[in-house]
Symmetry: D2
Subunit: 254 residues, 4 copies
């Protein structure tokens, strides 16, 4: 079981244009700092947050208690002009976990209701669960794209890769998030390395570009991400011949 | 003429894995804070930055001098574990401007060269130019999606909208960036409101969702974005019947 | 026993002027952000950091493990242009704890040695210790000073209060830090409320100003500070007649 | 004429304890980030902010227009749970400038009035003024104190130096702020280098410690601070025999 938390800014849309539209630069700074802040607070407790749509973020929260969520929620409320509501859900697939988290929160009213504020809605908690993360990147993007074509062309290309990965992983109940550069993190509990390899090949066939994936499996997102990074390094350094390599935390509890 | 700046973290990829892979949460915090910081510094001078790929960001920099760029570059170098290089370019279309900015920087060596550091490469400066920005959002997304389907499903949908907008605007030499929630900003100097309306209709036909676009035209990105926001508000409040509405800064110099 | 951590920026002085003096604004931003960051990370684990001299900060770290310290240290090293070393010490008085923490770190070489880097020096850990914090503020400062005299005159006055408190508390092995406005936090394990009251009276006699102190006693700094705040509120609201009031965490382990 | 801005958080004290006392760590993070943010925004326009009491900060604002102040004020209001009011004043001495700035703001009501919000009170603007800054530090503090005595003992000593400098400079209409480590910045328009030297000697006589001062004189705080740093480096490197050295911006106006 993976545990996920949906973090939603309360009544954000209306706030951004009241009494008149706030400067876009201020909103961008606010959103980026809120994300960095939540990342810091979840990571200090073994979690990992993805910026997603910024006003709606998704976090892996295995091992993070309801008490900890309350602490984080209050800390944000104390330091920002906005507040956040959260939904917590567990599931066998990351898709199910975020689905349960969303449904729990939706019961409390609309994301744009002025009445719904600082809700912590719990559908389920993953006891003794695990997290599987695939860190995927593009082979040789710097030479092939960054140093050769325009910055926006590279950006477009990375987004095309993203779109295919989104579509294919979705079929497996797996999620994927862009994390900067040519890097993606897929939350893929239950997806076999073989299945991942097939997905990478689909991208290669469609866009003629080779991807690789380091996969980590551990009790927390923090550890799983680190193992995924080490697995990716192993591929990069040629210590494994496959384009997908997995490292598991020892003595894992399922 | 629009002026754009490509901001590139020097030799970032290798740094993230030296001597061993850095914690993903630390990289996410670093990237988000660097973006917020640059947004602050460019906005203080009338500009606007888009996070793009985070290690490669694109900014509108009309009216921001080479001296100011140097100041920003030095300030980042003083406060971060990484340094940035920048390329500046002007063009009739945003695509051309970023193309020129990229090409200027690429001449100084690879983005992953340990030797290329804190370069400020100038292709061209836009004197008396202007910036046209379209702020595009999705009509009624909260009711239709956020409050109804799962957070990831909404995210997938927003990305599908993004992909079509990217493809269609590209044909006009216009760029587009996701700015959070259901919001996009398109840099679209030279694109008529009629052409924008057609693009919104293509999205509607493909995905069965109505979009609207407020357009601002001004001497700086900061002002153009504000005008675009006001134009979007005018549509939202029913003060204009079209789904695309433009407001221009008075007495504009072309 | 209270446990304290000395956080020291490695070789900071020389760094600030190499290759030439860095802009003072950049240093101020860096220092303030580093402090905010460490505060966030220690607070997430029940601690509390005081900015002290900014290049040398003191934290209460009861219940924060060596492993956690390593995590924080690495996270700073990943995101700042500087690194930090730390010393950890326990003691019956806060003075002794920070003394032991300092001595442990000093053994590894000079704060300005280019060789000493990212040291974690442990003198001692407080098992089952406790933290006593007094939150002291000035009665009616807004009316008496902020709204009446110049901002700098108020600042000078607050510093005179600070100086007397420093001198008097020092005799008891207690530390005190300015925390903004007219607020001070004294780490005062072992100091009786009567003794605190006498010290407040000394300030009153010398400067003709009334102070009050809410005292909290708990297993972590985070909790002790909250109790101190509640105790201060109790005085403010007239729920206690004394100028010093203490609240202890229930079922405390000494 | 030097121009100073008093930045005051609106109704901050009551906010920190409503509905119940906010976690001290959150307040510390908020205050430090607000200070870093204002420093960034003032520095981008040639100014310099001192944290002072955090809820009341003083900035040198020569060359920063009322329009710029409004922009900064709005940007803070958009991104923090609190708002700020500001007073702007010019004077022949820094003391007079901050006095005028304070008085202008005080006219609008109490710092703790819930009604007074986002005021920008202008007493006077310094046209063609100048800024004189002395950057003062302690000779050999690392060897003598940081590496030898406890962290808190060094802190106490630095505060004793601060107290004497405050008292002596006050007599000249000059202000002084601790800026971290063993560093102080004195705003000292109109104070001769001879007079500064005498003050450093008073500290030496009372505390048996040698100080030095680099002085910069320029049209903006940003430049004056940089010149002060260069002047301090000149003393440090033995390029001048005196303990006080001044560098002026060329072709200075008044």
């Amino acid at each position: 079981m993976i545990q996920m938390t949906l973090i939603q800014i309360d009544n954000y849309g209306p706030w951004t244009v009241t009494p008149s539209p706030k400067a876009e630069s201020d909103l961008q700074i606010l959103q980026a700092e809120l994300y960095a802040d939540l990342e810091q607070q979840f990571a200090a407790r073994g979690g990992l947050v993805f910026f997603t749509r910024f006003d709606n973020m998704l976090a892996i929260s295995n091992n993070i208690s309801i008490e900890d969520h309350k602490h984080i929620q209050k800390s944000i409320g104390n330091r920002y002009p906005i507040t956040i509501s959260m939904g917590i859900g567990a599931g066998n697939t990351p898709y199910d976990a975020q689905y349960n988290a969303t449904k729990a929160l939706q019961k409390y009213g609309s994301a744009q209701s002025p009445k719904r504020k600082e809700i912590l809605a719990v559908d389920s908690i993953a006891e003794n669960g695990f997290v599987q993360i695939a860190h995927i990147d593009i082979n040789g993007i710097t030479k092939k794209l960054t140093d050769t074509v325009s910055a926006y062309d590279t950006f477009l290309f990375v987004n095309k890769v993203y779109q295919i990965l989104m579509d294919e992983l979705f079929k497996k109940g797996a999620l994927i998030f862009f994390i900067g550069g040519d890097n993606f993190m897929s939350l893929c509990n239950g997806v076999k390395t073989n299945a991942l390899l097939k997905i990478l090949k689909i991208v290669d066939e469609e866009l003629n570009i080779e991807l690789k994936a380091g996969v980590g499996k551990a009790s927390t997102a923090y550890k799983a991400a680190n193992l995924a990074d080490l697995a990716l390094e192993a591929i990069r350094e040629g210590n494994t011949s496959s384009l997908v390599h997995m490292i598991e935390e020892k003595e894992m509890i399922n």
